[in-house]
């Protein structure tokens, strides 16, 4: 991410400025929604909060890259100056914030809004419902299990559009011959884009049940098995189809390669669709999407974003925090936000008929519980997650590392995870 440091510095200085002048109902929200599509989405939240009739003000602190934003939040909490609210991913990233008593209990808001009934699937709600108390607001369901491709690129190379990853690997040499980049990826932020691809390939190779068993039982046996070796081998093959500018590229620049027809295909979560939409493209003629890396076996994951609220010793701020919490999950805001973001709303009782063909695919898939994959973050801590990031990024960058080595290291990390 080329502008990451500059952006982070700017965001940090902006945050300091606001911290001094915050009034009772000014609520600072730290998040990492910084790309074009994401900004369009988050402005829907800000607009709704600013116009809620209470004179509240959304103070926006956008910090590029999730790991940077999260560590900023953690430092602020440790330093005794937490923001009003912050974005996290559902999972174990914030478990110590709950056990440390740093978060605002939202149970009364949740009871009034009947969150336990409107939020579907149940797995999304359970990320916030810990020991009978609600500690966060889920705002969307993201699925990581997508591949996005440029229709003009496949046409130019004279190959059919892919239906699964094997199709794509078969077509890739032709795309390369046509002078285009077959596979677009980026290596910023410890290589999280590569790990996202890797996780999708793991689920595809192991199947949902075996994958869940590997993570929940910390099974080094499955993690070191032949399927995993196959994944690493396939990952090396995919690397042959990338360009050498990948090293520091961030995800939306990667998506842009597909948008502008320079690259064939990118594996990325559904937030990439927000970028296509922001570029004025529709999923009918300009770009195609492949669900779950295999159209025959559609899967959606229950990743997403949640918003946590930090305890503040000021009843006015607390009231504003609770108003925002209720607002984030209200039907109108859910539709506006998720249409711009490219994610699914967390409630099933809203009208999504305006959604594009790709979202219709995922809305259909989410109806069947058999298609739902639990987010990896639910099983592993951020520590383990980053270790996996590093392993996969190292394997991807270093051609001398064999698939056998990588599989063995993967098994060690899974076996030792806490």
């Amino acid at each position: 991410m080329r502008y990451r440091i500059l952006t982070a510095a700017l965001a940090a200085s902006a945050a300091l400025q606001f911290a001094g002048t915050a009034k009772a109902t000014d609520l600072e929200v730290i998040h990492w929604w910084t790309s074009k599509g994401e900004s369009a989405a988050v402005s829907q939240f800000a607009k709704a909060f600013d116009n809620d009739g209470h004179g509240d003000k959304w103070v926006d602190s956008a910090i590029a890259l999730g790991e940077t934003a999260r560590s900023t939040v953690m430092q602020r909490v440790l330093g005794g100056d937490p923001p009003g609210a912050a974005q996290f991913n559902p999972g174990r990233q914030y478990e110590e914030l709950i056990s440390g008593g740093k978060l605002l209990d939202l149970t009364d808001v949740a009871t009034a809004g009947k969150w336990d009934q409107v939020i579907r699937p149940k797995a999304i709600g359970s990320a916030c419902l810990v020991d009978g108390h609600w500690w966060c607001v889920p705002v969307n369901i993201h699925s990581n299990y997508w591949a996005w491709y440029s229709k003009p690129v496949f046409e130019k190379a004279g190959v059919p559009e892919p239906k699964n990853l094997a199709d794509f690997i078969a077509a890739a040499p032709k795309i390369k011959e046509a002078g285009l980049i077959p596979f677009a990826i980026g290596g910023d932020g410890n290589g999280w884009q590569i790990q996202l691809l890797f996780q999708d390939m793991v689920t595809e190779a192991l199947g949902v049940a075996k994958r869940d068993e590997m993570y929940t039982k910390k099974s080094a046996e499955i993690a070191g098995g032949p399927e995993m070796k196959g994944v690493f081998t396939q990952l090396r093959t995919l690397k042959q189809f990338t360009d050498n500018g990948y090293a520091n590229r961030n995800w939306n620049d990667t998506t842009n390669l597909v948008i502008t027809g320079k690259a064939g295909l990118q594996v990325m979560g559904d937030w990439a669709r927000g970028e296509f939409a922001a570029a004025g493209m529709t999923g009918v003629k300009d770009f195609g999407c492949m669900i779950g890396l295999n159209e025959a076996k559609p899967v959606v994951s229950t990743d997403g974003d949640i918003i946590v609220f930090f305890k503040q010793n000021n009843p006015d701020v607390e009231a504003a925090q609770k108003r925002l919490a209720a607002l984030l999950i209200s039907p109108e805001v859910q539709v506006a936000f998720n249409n711009a973001k490219g994610s699914m709303p967390v409630r099933g009782d809203v009208d999504m008929s305006t959604a594009d063909p790709c979202m219709q695919k995922s809305l259909k898939a989410v109806e069947d519980p058999a298609n739902i994959v639990t987010a990896t973050n639910r099983f592993i801590t951020e520590n383990t997650n980053q270790q996996l990031n590093e392993l996969v990024a190292q394997f991807f960058a270093d051609d001398s590392m064999t698939a056998d080595d990588a599989t063995a290291k993967f098994a060690t990390i899974i076996g030792n995870s806490d």
Partner: protein
């Protein structure tokens, strides 16, 4: 005995250094103490006092990223310090030839040191990015097979860091050594010339040994810069590709902030402290022996 005590603890000097002593004890000693303490605990996001012995150190030395970081800092340190000292000395000799526009040249050479390493790193990253910088520019000029992208190859990225380190550090080494060179008495040069000793020989055998102090200062500055190298790596490579350019300081910050594993981060920080302590102890020993010899001579 009485005299020697007075000479060592001159009252105004003691009063003058009290603020510095307080800061040093308050910030460094207590801070380092807690770092070491927490390295023996299972602290994750929040520091705690659940002592687990050497478990964090065992995990640390089993982590391939830490091993890569340690190798990297040795490589980076040896390469950049050696090159900086050699280039710095050559530049200082060049500047000492009573050239015209000396001030201008000195500013140019010192300029990289005045710039933030974040800016330096970003500029280098842009120049070396295959899609934006040198490679793309040459290809646009028509040399379509031109290939130069050291930052994206795990084997060469560390060399790019070394080059940036030299670019940044040789100017300040030059300034320090130039001051040392100017401190050498003109008479020595004259005497050497009269004796018909070649210039290079005068430099190596006479002038350089006389500049021991300047060399030591430059060397210590370089070492400190290497141990804490962080911003350059973050700005240029982010520790990548993969983990190829990770450094201990980057590792520590990553463990504490992103990986939410304070205990292991503190263990890594303690490991970074060890070589510094060894060097300090060695320096102290040398000083102590010299003082004892001098006192014995008196």
């Amino acid at each position: 005995m009485q005299r020697s005590w007075r000479r060592r603890f001159h009252l105004p000097a003691v009063i003058g250094t009290i603020p510095m002593i307080l800061v040093a004890v308050g910030v460094f000693v207590i801070g380092i103490g807690f770092s070491v303490l927490w390295s023996f605990t299972s602290s994750k996001l929040f520091p705690n006092y659940d002592f687990v012995g050497l478990a964090q150190y065992r995990r640390l030395w089993a982590d391939s990223r830490w091993l890569v970081s340690v190798n990297n800092i040795w490589f980076f340190g040896l390469m950049s310090i050696t090159c900086n000292m050699v280039f710095g000395y050559l530049l200082a000799v060049f500047m000492d030839q009573r050239i015209r526009q000396e001030d201008l040249f000195r500013s140019i050479f010192l300029y990289p040191f005045a710039m933030s390493l974040i800016v330096t790193g970003l500029v280098w990253q842009w120049v070396l990015d295959p899609n934006l910088g040198l490679q793309e520019a040459m290809r646009n000029l028509g040399w379509s097979s031109f290939s130069f992208a050291p930052l994206v190859d795990a084997n060469t990225a560390i060399y790019a860091l070394v080059v940036a380190g030299i670019w940044q550090g040789s100017g300040v080494t030059m300034a320090i050594l130039l001051a040392g060179l100017r401190g050498v008495d003109e008479e020595i040069w004259k005497a050497a010339r009269v004796d018909g000793i070649p210039t290079w020989r005068t430099h190596v055998s006479i002038v350089a040994p006389m500049m021991k102090g300047a060399f030591a200062t430059a060397f210590v500055l370089q070492c400190v810069g290497v141990v804490r190298v962080y911003d350059l790596v973050i700005a240029m490579t982010g520790g990548g590709p993969g983990i190829a350019t990770s450094m201990p300081a980057v590792y520590v910050i990553q463990l504490i902030t992103v990986r939410q594993n304070v205990g292991q981060g503190m263990a890594a920080a303690t490991m970074m402290l060890l070589p510094v302590l060894v060097v300090l102890a060695f320096g102290g020993l040398v000083m102590w022996r010299r003082n004892r010899q001098r006192e014995a001579a008196l």
